[in-house]
């Protein structure tokens, strides 16, 4: 074939072009990684990972909001009636027993960020109501009315002493 005489093995040439394109494309993709990574939280942001909170002075029924990783965390000291009501029900749209959501039934610790669009719900009557899109949560932070898809997140936390907790490590 005349073509083969002049340009050589066209199959080999096509193969080399493909390999070069793949290698070049992979190189370009890898070169993007540092740029993408630079947009992730920086070291100083990651350093704000834990928050300590002193529970003394909170009466039954009181709620406090503390900042953890820049997010509000609700700490609710529940009354015996609230505990009884929450243990009796299994939640609403995303059923979960109350016992799994608390370390001690008296203390509810949840991230105060609506699982729908990230607004901060307000404490209203029993539970919380989110004014952005109308989601409702009960006194265990479980969603009882949409559009929120999930229950309020329980952050990792532990009691260091009887009346002091650290949020951010389990």
């Amino acid at each position: 074939m005349a073509e083969n005489d002049t340009v050589g093995d066209t199959g080999r040439r096509k193969f080399l072009i493909k390999v070069t394109a793949v290698a070049g494309g992979a190189g370009a993709a890898v070169a993007c990684l540092p740029f993408i990574s630079s947009m992730n939280p920086s070291a100083d942001v990651l350093a704000k990972a834990t928050t300590e909170f002193d529970l003394t002075g909170m009466n039954p029924g009181d709620m406090r909001t503390v900042a953890w990783q820049g997010k509000p965390v609700f700490i609710l000291r529940r009354t015996p009636e609230q505990i009884a009501a929450m243990e009796a029900s299994n939640g609403g749209l995303y059923p979960e027993p109350d016992q799994q959501r608390v370390k001690q039934p008296e203390w509810l610790v949840v991230v105060g960020v609506c699982t729908h669009m990230g607004c901060v719900p307000n404490k209203e009557g029993p539970g919380w109501t989110c004014h952005c899109h109308g989601s409702q949560y009960d006194d265990s932070g479980r969603v009882t009315r949409g559009p929120a898809p999930k229950n309020l997140e329980v952050p990792p936390y532990r009691f260091i002493t009887a009346d002091k907790i650290v949020i951010g490590e389990a």
Partner: protein, 418 residues
């Protein structure tokens, strides 16, 4: 001397040719109405936003601890800072207003049909970039609405399958909207207008290839075109005068009407305002987001609602020229669609009660339904119109254009009347 200089340039760069072919002598249909002014107005507002934005950036500080105060500094201390800021804030609303009218004109006259599909799709891309730019710019004053608007919108990306939570943290550069978010939004808010300018160049190259559509919907022969200058330069500048009267009334007399009162409170990550509303130009899409009870479904519906327009060249099967002006059923549909947009806008601005949610859901169904029914309506309507006979003036125009060897892009289809 001047001629010599121009000759020297023309030898090396097609200056005179370009001005003659693309600006002064650019052939334009003689029957364009004032609805064809809005592309020019959008270009004008783009320049206005870039200019006011650059001068504002000379005084603004993109830092979570400084930005709110730097806005106050611009308003109180910078010479004419209040004017620059009010022009820029009002300009954002003006931009959406002229773009929405520009789109409504295209929809009404069916200008998205062959051969102008690429104009419509580049326009769709420009709309998305405009929305992104407006959204990122809204965070910069670092008020309560800025903060919570950005929180809600970045949260939409949680709907990404499998890696949603990581995507949100990556977009924000923090676990919540914070200083990292503000700084990158400022960088991108400065970048995007230049991408938009690039997109406008593509949009205009496509326009100068296919030329303007016109109210008759028929590609007029060259003999019916007139040069852009002086006919349409004067028409566009007259329209600009009317636009500036409205724009300046807002800038000088009602500058705060486009600024939510809650945005005069510095951002507070621990407290959401009781009622979050987006800017008016996002309200219909926000209402669609809220109407779907499932989160991922709502985000998908909102994304799709903006993108539905791109399908129009495929959905509209009618070959009747002139869009809604010659198509009575599409005309009714067009006005019902606009009315439905107003209903969605009202729903988006109102706190979500059960009743409002129901109205929003009906309006959302109507919104998507009106797109999905277009193929059936347009074919049935075309058969009915051809059977009934087109209006004599349209028949006459088609006949006269046929003599001018202009072919309508008619595809034959089974069921046509011979």
């Amino acid at each position: 001397m001047q001629n010599k200089l121009i000759k020297w340039i023309d030898h090396r760069f097609p200056l005179t040719n370009f001005v003659k072919h693309e600006l002064t002598g650019y052939p334009t249909p003689r029957n364009l109405s004032y609805w064809w002014n809005f592309g020019f107005l959008a270009g004008f507002v783009l320049v206005l936003q870039v200019v006011t934005g650059i001068f504002l950036a000379m005084h603004y500080k993109p830092d979570a601890t400084l930005s709110f105060d730097s806005i106050q500094h611009i308003m109180r201390d910078v010479n004419y800072g209040w004017l620059l800021r009010y022009m820029h804030a009002t300009g954002a609303s003006a931009f959406f207003l002229v773009i929405y009218i520009h789109m409504a004109r295209t929809l009404y006259y069916g200008s998205y049909r062959a051969p102008r599909e690429l104009m419509w799709w580049t326009g769709q891309g420009l709309l998305l970039m405009l929305m992104a730019t407006a959204f990122m710019g809204y965070l910069l004053p670092w008020g309560q609405m800025s903060f919570w608007g950005a929180t809600v919108i970045t949260n939409l990306f949680r709907a990404t399958p499998y890696i949603g939570d990581q995507v949100v943290v990556w977009l924000r550069g923090d676990y919540t909207v914070g200083d990292a978010t503000l700084t990158r939004f400022f960088a991108l808010h400065y970048l995007f207008p230049f991408l938009i300018i690039g997109g406008v160049v593509v949009h205009l190259v496509a326009l100068h290839t296919v030329k303007s559509s016109n109210p008759s919907g028929i590609d007029l022969a060259a003999r019916d075109n007139i040069p852009f200058h002086p006919y349409f330069t004067s028409k566009d500048f007259y329209g600009l005068g009317l636009f500036l009267i409205v724009y300046c009334s807002f800038v000088f007399f009602f500058p705060d009407s486009m600024i939510e009162p809650a945005n005069n409170i510095p951002a507070n990550p621990m407290q959401t305002p009781t009622h979050i509303v987006p800017e008016w130009y996002f309200l219909p899409f926000y209402a669609i987001l809220r109407s779907v009870p499932n989160m991922v479904g709502g985000v998908a519906a909102m994304g799709l609602s903006v993108m539905m327009f791109a399908f129009m060249p495929f959905l509209d099967r009618s070959r009747i020229p002139g869009g809604a002006s010659n198509r009575p059923i599409v005309r009714i549909g067009f006005y019902l669609f606009l009315l439905n947009m107003l209903v969605l806008g009202y729903v988006g601005a109102t706190p979500p009660t059960d009743q409002i949610i129901l109205v929003g859901q009906v309006a959302t169904l109507f919104y998507f339904g009106s797109f999905l029914l277009i193929p059936f309506i347009s074919i049935a309507e075309e058969r009915w119109l051809i059977k009934r006979g087109l209006p004599p003036e349209v028949e006459a125009l088609i006949a006269s254009e046929a003599r001018g060897k202009i072919k309508l892009p008619f595809r034959r289809r089974s069921g046509d009347i011979k």
